[in-house]
């Protein structure tokens, strides 16, 4: 539990952070430290330098801009979960951030760090992908945005390029008439998601007009349940329809499976169907 030697740099602005990353070979961004510091203590990570972005005030906060929520990268889970703006416009994100770890983790861990780290068992990326969020990035080449669904490129790998920093996430507000839910099977030790399901359904005139369903924990990156979505759209969102839609999920697991001593890939897939059905039931009851 004693990290290897490293140097520490505190950035005052995003531009300075990008510069510090460029100037320091083997540097890593430090945000809430709740993934990076444990990895360093176990010497699984040994960055030669840390660039602490935790004091850049501009990266903190939640606002509604032109129909989208904009959440600064440094905003912690507790703030997001309790934000009225988030609860009103993206309740599934409030739910997902509200079940991250425990209160200490929710007060320290940041949305930007969580997304950048990209643990397959994380909660927020599942909700953000279902919401169709985009991630705002700043780097030596300027600013750009990346769709949440394009962001992860493999196990703990993402589309950020060298010396790029995630500055925030933009989340389109849910359309009126939508219902959503995030349900989670927490690992008894780590509290990460063995399975986490984010479901959003919209209903018009008694029929499902759109559906977005994403599953975390089962594969190395969040799984979009396209077959489930297809089965939902046009249905009456009644129990039979939800049963049938949930059963369709089996065909959606095409990526690299997750498996550990607590839950095999087979069990995770089976639980995904169970939790998916539960999420659909709640989401449907909230829609319309």
């Amino acid at each position: 539990m004693y990290p290897a030697n490293t140097t520490y740099h505190r950035a005052g602005s995003v531009a300075e952070a990008v510069q510090l990353l460029a100037d320091n070979e083997g540097a890593k961004v430090l945000a809430g430290g709740h993934s990076l510091i444990p990895a360093m203590k176990l010497r699984l990570a040994a960055p030669q330098a840390l660039v602490d972005i935790g004091h850049i005030a501009a990266l903190r906060g939640i606002s509604l801009e032109g129909g989208s929520l904009v959440i600064g990268a440094l905003t912690n889970f507790a703030t997001i979960a309790s934000s009225e703006l988030v609860q009103a416009n993206a309740p599934v994100l409030a739910e997902a951030t509200g079940v991250v770890g425990d209160p200490a983790v929710r007060n320290r861990g940041t949305i930007g760090g969580n997304v950048s780290h990209g643990d397959p068992a994380s909660d927020p990326p599942t909700a953000l992908t279902a919401l169709g969020a985009t991630y705002n990035v700043s780097g030596p080449g300027g600013e750009r945005s990346i769709a949440a669904s394009d962001f992860p490129t493999g196990l703990l790998e993402n589309a950020l390029q060298d010396n790029e920093i995630l500055t925030g996430v933009s989340v389109p507000a849910l359309a009126p008439g939508s219902g959503s839910a995030y349900v989670k099977f927490p690992h008894p030790a780590s509290r990460y998601a063995v399975v986490g399901v984010a479901a959003i359904v919209a209903s018009q005139g008694g029929s499902c007009s759109s559906a977005s369903v994403v599953i975390g924990g089962v594969e190395t990156t969040p799984t979009r349940a396209s077959s489930v979505e297809a089965a939902l759209v046009g249905s009456d969102l009644g129990n039979d329809a939800l049963d049938a839609a949930a059963a369709a999920v089996a065909g959606d697991f095409t990526g690299d499976p997750m498996s550990d001593i607590f839950a095999s890939d087979e069990y995770r897939r089976a639980m995904a169907a169970v939790y998916l059905r539960r999420a659909l039931g709640i989401a449907a009851s909230r829609a319309g």
Binding site: Y2, F185, P188, I261, Y267
Partner: protein
């Protein structure tokens, strides 16, 4: 006039400093000139060491020294095992502090670096180059005992460290004649004790005087001194062991470890104080673990549910070496308890203590008794199912009837006192048992898997009569001593040889003194944990501190009272026989207004201006208490669970504990002990267990994977108690530190199996993780 504090739930005086972070633990201590040790541990479960190259490490910044097994060989004696159970063909293979030729578990010490800072020491570890020749490893204790299994020690064929048998009556005849027999295989997973404070040691060798001081996270500093003497060769009177604040132990701080020996060695070589503190990851590898049993068990009975026999074959994993008390745990503390709360006329058990390529196993809260209680209580439920009887009825039929002064069971023990039926009645009443069964009927009708589990238990604690300790091969005594010292102002210091580390005896011992001589409870300070300041004692484990050390405090205080009476008689110009005592005042019978308070007496005794002829000055007494028998607390627990048929997740909905630990000095502390104990006993049923891969790598190496019990997984634990005093104890107390852990494992296991009974599921290996339960349900539904 003092308020009576005995038997009242006054707050623990320990808590303010513990809760506000003002307590000082071993790792908080910084000595001038102190340097830091870090230990390189084997990454292999089993390997020959071909070579070790420390030269690069020695050249790293801040590094003062690097030592290997070649350096400690000859300088440190091997680590001794201190519980040599007789008649068991016990093998005691060498256990060097640092492995030299062969490593036998992931975590075995291979080298030590001493540096100016802890960080430098850790960095340098990465520069030690060890060439290993990996060997096959074996972890399952039954597999390890079979022909052809990888061998750990040349002098322990088939890895069998001992074969110990318990027998009473004629079990084989009972089985031959039985109306019905049932059997089961029960596994109790390997458990990590997880004290909040990891282990730590600081050694300070002063060459000029030949004195070694060791600050150590020990539950038993006097034993640590004794064993430090054995391992380092420093004479016992030149060793001082200090256990400052110790942040929990649960048994894992009983043993004497290689690490404190290595730390002492480093200080003796370098002539400066050396500190070593384990990291949490190291704790998961190098600190002794608990349980690791495979139990093949069977029960014989009549067709109306009277138990006639019990037979067991147990494979108890011991890890790679014999830890300090290891052999006694699955034998004396386990096999002798096979009668439980029941009258079982015929018992036979064979216990194989087996080496395997895991962390050494030793006492862990409950130590041997949860393993015994689980097999008995599980078999009772299996028997009830076989006979179509209510499990409570089978229990009632077999419970030992109430007794007040001694009951012999066939394993050779004499229980002290018991009213087992009463605790069972109390728990059933509290739970509303018949309503629960009706509710269960209804739930089953709705396809819900609700289960009710009941367990009784008897535990052996208050260890124990020293003569018995000797007879069962414990290489020490099991008595305790105390010194009670009154100062001129009437304030009191009590020095005890036991070493509480979270249990609250600083509070309860003060309550004893207050009760016996009427001083204010806050006028009494309990001093423990320093071999130079406290009289000899064998330590805090085995639910023995209140029962044994508390008795010594009581007897010493009673001597104070006797002397005070004599002194009061002198001062009041009366005969000692005419002096009465009440609430801290001594007076001549019939004239309570004319009295001397205990404070008056303390002052006079200390200034000694007017003492009776021949009376020594001072008001101080010591007592040595060697218990005439063990104490046998008991109880009955009940749990209600519901299993999610879709996921296998288990919801523990209610837990009711009814314990009878004899007289209670502080009911709030008793309740706290039950709460923690229950949580730790539920752990292996629902969550906990070390998992190794084929090669012996632990896969539960951090708290990310090793699931500890947490508050949100437990219901509000409902605690009640009965009081059946121990007939032989000066206060009638028995002990309660382990009760919860002993009862809750079988209680919750039985509840889950009860929930799954409609599916025809009869056994699943603990821990009952959701996937295992789900698979069992899938198999059952598929007719498997």
């Amino acid at each position: 006039m003092t308020t009576r504090v005995f038997s009242s739930g006054i707050r623990r005086r320990e808590d303010p400093r513990l809760i506000t972070g003002r307590a000082s633990y071993t790792d908080d201590i910084k000595l001038p000139g102190m340097v830091y040790a870090a230990i390189l541990r084997s990454m292999y479960a089993h390997a020959n060491i071909r070579s070790i190259d420390t030269s690069a490490a020695a050249g790293q910044p801040g590094v003062i020294a690097v030592y290997t097994g070649a350096d400690t060989e000859g300088a440190l004696n091997g680590l001794p095992c201190a519980w040599l159970i007789p008649n068991s063909d016990l093998k005691t293979p060498a256990h060097p502090a640092i492995a030299k030729d062969r490593v036998r578990y992931v975590g075995d010490a291979v080298a030590v670096v001493v540096a100016e800072t802890r960080y430098q020491a850790e960095d340098a570890l990465e520069h030690i180059v060890v060439e290993y020749e990996p060997l096959d490893a074996v972890l399952n204790p039954k597999d390890a005992a079979q022909d052809g299994a990888p061998q750990l020690h040349d002098d322990a064929p088939n890895n069998v460290a001992f074969t110990w048998a318990v027998a009473g009556g004629d079990a084989d005849a009972a089985f031959a004649d039985a109306d019905v027999t049932v059997s089961d295989v029960i596994t109790l997973p390997r458990l990590i004790a997880n004290p909040m404070e990891p282990r730590s040691a600081i050694a300070q060798w002063v060459g000029a005087t030949g004195e070694l001081t060791l600050w150590n996270t020990s539950q038993n500093p006097h034993i640590a001194r004794f064993l430090t003497c054995v391992v380092t060769g420093v004479p016992e009177h030149k060793i001082r062991v200090i256990a400052p604040e110790v942040g929990g132990g649960f048994g894992s701080k009983i043993p004497y470890y290689p690490d404190e020996a290595i730390t002492a060695f480093c200080s003796m070589r370098l002539g400066v104080p050396v500190k070593w503190t384990e990291t949490r990851s190291e704790n998961y590898l190098a600190t002794t673990q608990g349980r690791d049993h495979i139990e093949e068990v069977e029960m014989a009975a009549t067709s109306d549910g009277k138990i006639t026999g019990l037979r067991t074959t147990v494979y108890a994993g011991l890890g790679a070496y014999l830890s300090t008390a290891a052999p006694g745990v699955p034998t004396i503390l386990h096999g002798l308890m096979y009668s439980g709360a029941y009258d079982i006329p015929n018992i036979s058990g064979t216990i194989y203590g087996v080496f395997n390529n895991g962390t050494p196993v030793d006492a862990y809260r409950g130590a041997g008794r949860p393993e015994a209680t689980t097999l008995i209580e599980r078999l009772v439920d299996v028997l009830a199912a076989e006979l179509g009887m209510d499990p409570v009825e089978v229990r009632r039929k077999n419970l030992i009837p109430k007794f007040e002064n001694g009951h012999d069971v066939v394993t050779g023990l004499t229980y002290d006192s018991g009213d087992y039926g009463a605790t069972l009645d109390t728990v059933l009443d509290a739970a509303g048992y018949s309503a629960l069964r009706e509710e269960q009927e209804q739930a089953r009708g709705e396809g819900r898997l609700m289960g009710v589990g009941v367990s009784t238990y008897v535990e052996i604690c208050g260890l124990g009569p020293s003569q018995v300790a000797g007879a069962v091969g414990f290489q020490g005594g099991l008595w305790e001593s105390a010194i009670v010292r009154f100062h001129p102002t009437g304030k009191v210091n009590v020095m005890v040889g036991s070493s509480p580390h979270g249990q609250g005896e600083e509070t309860t011992f003060a309550q004893i003194v207050a009760e016996e001589v009427g001083v204010g409870v806050d006028d009494v300070e309990i001093i423990h944990g320093d071999t130079d300041l406290t009289p000899m004692g064998w330590g805090t484990y085995g639910s023995r501190t209140t029962a044994v050390s508390g008795a010594a405090v009581t007897l010493a205080t009673r001597k104070i009272k006797d002397k005070s009476k004599a002194l009061a008689a002198h001062l009041l110009e009366a005969a000692t026989e005419d002096i009465e005592y009440e609430d801290g005042r001594f007076f001549v019978r019939g004239s309570p207004d004319q009295h001397k308070t205990i404070q008056d007496i303390a002052l006079m005794a200390n200034v000694a201006w007017d003492m009776p002829e021949g009376m020594e000055p001072g008001l101080e007494a010591s007592a040595f208490y060697d218990p005439p028998n063990f104490t046998y607390p008991f109880g009955a627990h009940l749990a209600v669970v519901e299993v999610d048929p879709a996921t296998g997740q288990i919801d523990l909905q209610r837990y009711i504990a009814v314990d009878d630990c004899g007289v209670q000095i502080n009911p709030m502390i008793v309740e706290g002990q039950v709460h923690g104990g229950v949580a730790q006993g539920v752990g292996p049923v629902l969550w906990e267990g070390v998992v190794y891969d084929e090669s012996g790598q632990p896969l539960t190496g951090t708290m990310l994977d090793y699931a500890l019990p947490r508050a949100d997984g437990l219901p509000d634990i409902e605690v009640q108690s009965n009081t059946t005093p121990s007939p032989h104890h000066p206060l009638g107390v028995k002990g309660v530190g382990e009760a919860g852990t002993i009862a809750s494992t079988p209680t919750v296991y039985n509840a889950v199996m009860d929930a799954l009974r409609p599916l025809g599921i009869t056994r699943i290996d603990m821990p009952l993780t959701p996937e295992k339960v789900w698979r069992a349900m899938q198999d059952a539904r598929n007719g498997g």
